[in-house]
């Protein structure tokens, strides 16, 4: 088995736990490890309990384990809540200024206090101490600090060194050896989605803050100049999608981001995009509902919602990446397909994909801005020209000699309102034709992923970030894994191929009703059983092992 290490860092909100976790991930990354960092935080700003689990391994990992090798505790609650995760040989590094525990107690708070630095700086002392117990050279810590800390860099390095030296009694307690791999970018799903869209020509991102999509808003706004994108935060989600549709009508590639509640507000405009044929990409971040639910936790409760949202019948595409690499390529593809077919595309992404960090390799040269069908002049322009494939050429306002009439009513080819029965039927058929064109195109693209042994009798079917644990467990059990990247249209041509002859088809997903299983059955396939997880937390590898054993799969 590949060498692997899990480190848990816990404290209160405001302690900078996520950043500390990111530094630990970077440390392992520099040693050539694949990393995965799961962030568990509450919907509050100060107090409460936050923790991050960083798992590093010589092979790719995209899920965490229940157990940890090292725990870094900034408060007592961390020790109390996570004691069960410790193994015989696990080590607890704790801030002896306010935590009582067995293990390596260090006056971490004091390192910051005596320099008159904010308490959060103790994180760098902890990083130094951790590096020491892992038997690492100090220069690695220094590099990580320089790559993550913006203010008081030298002081932070001094604090890190102090932590490093304080822990020398435990130096090499868990000796880590470098693996022969180059470091890779560590990205969250949110970041990858932003970058993918940028590579497909995104120029305008419109959003209203809502977990777990807020980091995408911050990321694009924070890197707006470098990424050549303008970021706008309007009055509510109805305005968000309304603005995006206006901008798209005027020729600008636009994406919006939200979560379930915000998407609810967008639904009427979704239908408008269907009727008026406006290209728009909606990033729908999932968290446990109904209603406000668990704002900062994990679920995959929105499979049916994006597929069926909106009144009337219209074509739409729903994509579902499972890790940041898929998020990058699918977000780009979402924007390209939205423009090629002038349809809404919804990118569904669960909390753990959006808010966890993963070692990722993105090849930006693999993404192109695909050309939409543009009006090339000649004759009178008709916004809704009837064509065989259901896609009418696009022109934008401001074009001499052209009148572009977009319309949410049923309309004729020019875009003038009609209630004529023949035209009504013809337009419905135009939308159906477009659905077929989309499916024809998708048959040429990668719409599912498979892992493990696809010759085995058992295939685990999953979507979104749940695939992290599923793939790992399947490989151990010699099962196959099928992960649809497209949920609508559902790639039945692939499912048919991969399900054929299988004895045991098991859907694994993070909801209580088995939405993917139902959706697959709806298309006429057999699903033998479901493994469901709906406690607001992402599935861990150990948990899935146990559930598979219990279910007798």
């Amino acid at each position: 088995m590949a060498q692997e290490y899990s480190v848990l860092i816990g404290g209160q909100a405001g302690d900078g736990i996520r950043l500390a976790g990111s530094s630990v991930a970077r440390l392992f990354n520099r040693l050539g490890y694949w990393v995965f960092a799961y962030n568990d935080y509450q919907s509050l700003i100060r107090g409460g309990h936050n923790f991050t689990v960083v798992r590093a391994s010589g092979k790719r990992v995209q899920a965490h384990r229940n157990t940890v090798d090292i725990m870094v505790a900034f408060n007592q609650e961390t020790v109390e809540k996570h004691g069960w995760r410790l193994k015989e040989d696990s080590l607890v590094i704790f801030d002896s200024d306010n935590v009582k525990a067995e293990g390596l107690g260090l006056p971490l708070s004091e390192t910051a206090r005596k320099r008159n630095l904010p308490l959060i700086v103790r994180n760098t002392a902890a990083l130094g101490a951790l590096a020491s117990t892992l038997g690492l050279e100090f220069h690695l810590v220094e590099e990580v600090v320089r790559s993550t800390v913006r203010r008081s860099v030298e002081e932070n390095i001094a604090v890190a060194k102090e932590g490093y030296d304080m822990a020398k009694g435990y130096r090499g307690f868990t000796q880590v050896h470098a693996v022969n791999n180059p470091p890779r970018p560590i990205l969250s799903g949110n970041e990858a989605i932003g970058l993918g869209a940028v590579k497909a020509g995104l120029k305008l991102y419109v959003a209203y803050p809502m977990t777990p999509s807020t980091p995408l808003l911050h990321y694009l706004a924070g890197n707006a100049d470098e990424l050549g994108v303008t970021v706008v935060q309007p009055e509510n989600e109805i305005a968000v999608i309304g603005m995006a549709e206006g901008a798209a009508y005027a020729g600008v590639r636009t994406m919006v981001g939200t979560s379930g509640g915000g998407f609810c507000l967008m639904v009427e405009h979704l239908s408008l995009a269907g009727q008026a044929e406006i290209p728009v990409v909606i990033m729908l971040g999932e968290r446990p509902g109904p209603a406000i639910g668990l704002p900062t936790y994990h679920a995959q409760g929105e499979l049916f919602f994006p597929i069926f949202a909106g009144h009337g019948e219209f074509p739409r595409i729903v994509v579902s990446p499972g890790d940041p690499e898929e998020a990058f390529y699918l977000s780009a593809e979402a924007l390209n397909l939205a423009w090629r077919f002038q349809v809404p595309v919804i990118l569904v992404a669960d909390y753990s994909l959006l808010e966890s960090s993963f070692s990722s390799f993105l090849d930006e040269d693999k993404v192109l801005v695909e050309n939409p069908k543009l009006w090339t002049g000649g004759g009178e322009y008709k916004r809704y020209l009837l064509t065989g494939d259901g896609v009418s050429p696009l022109a934008f306002p401001g074009t001499v000699g052209v009148t572009v009439k977009a319309n949410s009513y049923e309309h004729d080819e020019y875009g003038i309102t009609t209630e004529d029965p023949v035209l009504t039927m013809r337009n419905a058929e135009k939308r159906l034709a477009k659905s077929r064109t989309i499916e024809d195109e998708l048959r040429k693209r990668e719409t599912v992923k498979t892992y493990g042994n696809m010759q085995a009798d058992t295939v685990l079917v999953t979507w979104g970030s749940t695939k992290g644990a599923v793939v790992e467990v399947a490989e151990e059990h010699d099962f196959g894994v099928l992960q649809p990247l497209y949920l609508n249209p559902l790639p039945v041509w692939e499912i048919e191929k991969h399900f054929s002859g299988k004895k045991n088809i098991v859907c694994v997903e993070a909801n209580s009703t088995g939405q993917l299983a139902r959706w697959i059955r709806f298309h006429g396939f057999r699903v033998d059983r479901t493994i469901l997880k709906y406690d607001g937390r992402a599935l861990t590898v150990d948990e899935l092992e146990e559930k598979i054993r219990e279910a007798g799969v």
Binding site: L187, L195, G228, T230, V400
Partner: protein, 290 residues
Amino acid sequence: MGLRLEDFSTYARNTWCPGCGNFGIERAAKLAFAELVNEGKIRRENIVMVTGIGCHGKIADYINVNSFYSLHGRAIAPAVGIKLANPMLEVLAFVGDGDALGEGLEHTVFAAKRNVDMTVIVHDNRVYALTTGQFTPTSPKGFRGGSTPRGAPEEPLNPIELMLVSGATLVARAYSVNLNHTKELVKQAVLHKGFAFIDVLQPCYTFFDTYKYYGPRVYDLQKEGHNYADLDAALAKAREWNYGGEEAKRIPIGVFFKTDKPTYEDIVLAGRSLREGVVPSISRVLQRSM
């Protein structure tokens, strides 16, 4: 020879009731467009009308310029997006009183607050006309309609006052019967660099016939030396008539307030254009995440 009103007509069959105030708004808009193009102040292909849903919204079908016929209450947010996408465009939202002061009030207030360079024209018939006559935010208290047979229980909202306090940089009222005055206001609004709001008193002949009510009451602010640079004076004039009923004596029309402020798109875009620009390399961003 320049463009004439007829050059802005479409083949769509008009379905407004005879005597409807919307005809006046349609004429005024077409004339304003024709004159502005003829005067070389705007280009025809740059005009974009965004409309809500209601009798008013049909104007999108009747004028031969770019249009975005949106949802009920949802004309203004797309209009803002259009302006951001291409600031060269002359964006006008033709909206209803139910539409932009009820269903989608937030977008109206926020577009004013941001001072987006666009024009909002409210077809204020003070009734939900297309749904056959219910009270709206600007209907007088006691308005009898299908949903309020005993009279509307609410006091009306004063859109002029609301726009003044929301940050609109041109606030005006028109009366659809006064064609020339309405046309001049539309022209002024289009040329104004900032958020221009015109509440057009538009009698609904079928569900709220207000011709006899407005006729003797309206007067032109500009003929009485109103100082539109003074916000307090504007507010005082706005309160002269609170969209009430018989008790009102005089109803001011014309420009209440006009000022200059930086526009939203100038600030947000800071000289960038969303319609061009190369796809950037992300290699440095990726480098930083290692």
